[in-house]
């Protein structure tokens, strides 16, 4: 093989890898980001219709309703506005009234936010990041709803 052909070959392989990677990255970034909104932004109709986003705020004290069934209702507030949330599944350990929470899901037609993942926000003392992170996973992450294809890998 001539040196020039060889160089061309290497260049081509490199470009293919880079091109494929960039395509994957931009594609995945475009499709898999979820934006974060507050209840006020929801009230001001700033959220995208029919798109997954994250709703953050505090769980309104006294608003959590657990019925006989698996679905839980609660209100998320930023002290200015309130959004009703419905979630079917098991809530994370540290989910509590008056605590911070992040719910991922989309707005239903009836103005109720249907969450398929709930992360409980909590405060703790500082520890080494690896340890803290491990704990965090247990507490913040709710149940990734497997049925919706949101698997951890």
């Amino acid at each position: 093989m001539k040196a020039r052909h060889k160089r061309l070959g290497f260049l081509l392989v490199g470009l293919v890898v880079l091109g494929a990677a960039s395509w994957l990255v931009f594609n995945a970034l475009g499709n898999n980001l979820s934006y974060f909104f507050s209840p006020t932004e929801v009230a001001e109709n700033k959220v995208p219709a029919d798109h997954v986003f994250r709703l953050g705020g505090l769980v309104q004290p006294g608003s959590v309703e657990r019925g006989e069934q698996l679905t839980v209702h609660f209100d998320v507030t930023d002290n200015a506005h309130t959004v009703k949330v419905a979630y079917t599944g098991i809530l994370p350990d540290l989910f509590k009234e008056g605590q911070g929470v992040i719910a991922q899901g989309r707005m239903g037609p009836d103005g109720i936010f249907v969450a398929d993942e709930v992360l409980a926000k909590h405060d703790e003392n500082y520890m080494s990041p690896e340890v803290a992170d491990a704990l965090e996973k247990g507490h913040q992450k709710g149940i990734e709803n497997m049925a919706k294809g949101n698997k951890p890998l």
Binding site: S38, P39, T40, G56, G57, L58, P61, D78, N79, A80, H81, E97, G98, Q99, G100, V101, I102, K121, H122, D123, N125, Y126
Partner: protein, 183 residues
Amino acid sequence: MSKSRAFIPLLAFLALAGLFYFVLMKMGKGEYNPRDIPTEFIGRPAPSIDLPNLLDENDRVKSSDYAGKVWLVNVWGTWCPECWKEHEYLMHLSRQGVPILGIDWRDEKADAIDFLKQKGNPFVEVGFDPNSDAAIDWGVYGAPETFLIDAEGIVREKHAGALYPQVWQEKFAKYFHAQKPTE
């Protein structure tokens, strides 16, 4: 390898470091906190406080006593190391005459009293809030948190995390300078 190509990693890294520097500066000024959960407090009337006084069983701590002043609310607990760290600075502020109302949150009464006895008490009054009564009204999701309320009773600033001189200068100090001449 050509000379210019060898510089690419360095330039990429410097761009990254620039971004980090920018973010850290914003964090230092309290403009950026990756952990923020939005609470719509700034520019709204402060929620009222009515808590038992930590140091005096027969007294209650009321926010109405502070009307017409620029004052701070500091949420703390003995269980929180960051609160221990900011304590010294709170003492400094209190010596400067900054009125601070403390909310002792989710704490053991005896521990809290000991803490103040040993390390000094920077607070004008301390409300005892073991069940998060006030903390929920104020949208507290961690300790320490510090709020600034102006003379009209409007919450003007909020800082999550320990209070450092830099944060004070950037966010809080201006309200006190403005007020001084009228004092």
